[in-house]
Symmetry: C2
Subunit: 341 residues, 2 copies
DNA sequence: CTGAAAGCGCTTACAG
DNA sequence: CTGAAAGCGCTTACAG
């Protein structure tokens, strides 16, 4: 392995000139630059990562901490890990993955050993032990998701409350007065994931603000559990004409199967909105109106915020990414209104 | 941040003694050890990762390279990433995640800069560009999966051929003489994933060796595509009595739905085996006999093999993890045999 | 059982 | 525009 001395010798310059030529931190003569570039290429030189870390006090590594306990639905979380990793590369950062019990223990470890320049926190619960740790750790960090206590933290996430409000408003604007929310399975709320609570709260608040009657139910396991939750909603509101789905893909697919089985037409009999979904709802039958949960936008912003902190800017604050509603034909004016015409 | 000099001063010893006390690489006096331990605790000392890398030429980081292109079914791949990460921690290694186009570019980068001590290659295709790169790179590496050309490589994987053979033998032993294999969607084979090919080849070879007629079909998209593939199998062999599923969870679930719809009883009318599945087949109705694809065992072995290479042992070779058949009541003697009793 | 010192390969003031 | 040198914080022969 060639080192910086080999390059300097081959190019006939000092090692500092090589270093500056590579970092671009000072201007280099045309001829010198060329000779260095040639030497680097011929020797296949790459700066040694450890030496660089030690000398520069930068590692160019982020920790991504994500418990990813088996209960979490992986495709959605995986999308965030990938999106963060891709966004990090745009700033020349690599990503170290801390999962399961290492999500907390490893965070302490890599922060204390200065293995990483910053931290991105995924899959945060309402009362997440990592947020407390971050406050002691004094390392640039961004939380994706909004825990209950955001003090001293930089947080960024899709605005789930606004997304819920948008869904309700959409239905209300179409004249619906009895609507339902099919949420995530009970365990998700119990474990304290932050966003399902935010969505549900936003949904109920918006409904009451807009004078719409709202019911809420959580699916049990498998198609049977989904059926039970739907039954619960229709029992609470027999004349329910609008349904918002805030749950994972298999459950939403199951809902559409069950509705089809029962001859409930979407949107003629029931308007359905898929809210904060990280998958493609246009492949459903019928395609569903959706407020997408786009990992990319949030993760790019999160990486930007860590980078800014590393550069010394940015104080603690919460940043909400606005949701966007996409129509795909699964909502329509409330049936009896049309009948009344 | 306290450094090793602070600890040495506080403990009244030299920095080399601190270093040795922490690494355990030479014996330390009882009293000295205690004073160092106290100083470390009081100062919250953690060795600086960059300094350690530079001095020791070890980084204690593995690269995990996994393209994870959107077509891959994430839960299965995620399980491998998690299993490798967990296994790596047992040897005090962290994991750097290289995905998408970085799976190859990043591999070159982190190897050349000595950011990682070793590499674990996931999601390898039959003709994977990373295998060629590994041969030039001269870095300890283990491939999980078996590419077409394994020269100079260390590879480890579940023995998919043996798993296929076990499935066929199981059915043959029960008297089945017409069996089918429902594989992965066509794109998976086309993209060159290595294991579906190995399974299919093993299946067809075993069938012909055991004198069993075998048909193969690939599901299209969604329940409709699965239905078509099943139709294809039953068309090719109207008297098919055994079915092996080597595909992802949603497809297997769909198969069982369709069979139930058609009144095909499992196992009375059709024996079904779920082969090389990384999910829980006992939650299906009915629970399926399964040869599990356990990420843990393969990944633990992969990490061991990298660690051994780093230590200087281990030449290139291919290691196959033997499959294990679990009965859950979805196979039975062939129907006409029982009727004939 | 312990210490003084070299050295890992960079970056970055300092100097010209 | 370029160089000589200090220094980042460790590990590990070398020596006793």
């Amino acid at each position: 392995m060639a080192n910086i001395h080999d390059v300097a010798k081959a190019a006939g310059v000092s090692i500092s000139t090589v270093s500056y030529a590579l970092s671009g931190k000072r201007s280099i003569g045309e001829e010198t630059r060329r000779r260095i570039a040639d030497a680097v290429r011929e020797l296949g030189y790459r700066p040694n990562a450890g030496a660089r870390m030690l000398a520069s006090t930068r590692t160019n590594i982020f920790a991504v901490t994500a418990p990813l306990h088996s209960g979490t639905y992986e495709p959605a979380h995986m999308a965030f890990v990938l999106a963060v990793t891709r966004a990090a590369r745009a700033y020349d950062y690599d990503v170290l993955l801390l999962t399961e019990d290492e999500a907390t223990k490893g965070l302490r470890r890599v922060a204390a050993s200065r293995l990483v320049d910053g931290v991105i926190v995924l899959d945060v619960s309402k009362d997440d032990e990592r947020t407390k740790l971050l406050r002691e750790l004094d390392i640039p960090a961004v939380v994706i998701g909004i825990p209950d206590d955001t003090e001293e933290l930089v947080c960024v996430d899709l605005d789930f409350r606004a997304a819920a409000e948008q869904s309700v408003r959409r239905l209300a604007d179409l004249g619906h007065r009895r609507i339902g929310l099919l949420g995530h399975p009970e365990q998700i709320y119990a474990r304290g994931s932050n966003f399902p609570h935010r969505f549900r709260a936003g949904f109920l608040d918006a409904a009451s603000a807009l004078g719409v009657d709202a019911a809420f139910a959580m699916p049990g396991h498998g198609p049977v559990g989904v059926r039970a939750a739907l039954d619960e909603l229709f029992e609470k509101q027999p004349d329910m004409t609008g349904l918002v789905l805030n749950c994972e893909e298999p459950i939403q697919a199951s809902v559409l199967d069950i509705l089809a089985d029962r001859g409930v037409r979407v949107p003629e009999d029931l308007s359905v909105i898929s809210a904060c979904s990280s998958f493609d709802t246009t492949r459903f039958h019928p395609p569903l109106d959706v407020i997408p949960l786009v990992a990319a936008e949030t993760c790019v912003r999160a990486v930007e915020l860590v980078v800014e902190q590393i550069a010394g800017a940015e104080g603690p604050h919460v940043e909400l990414v606005p949701p966007h509603y996409s129509e795909h034909g699964s909502t329509a004016p409330v049936p009896d209104l049309r009948d009344a015409r």
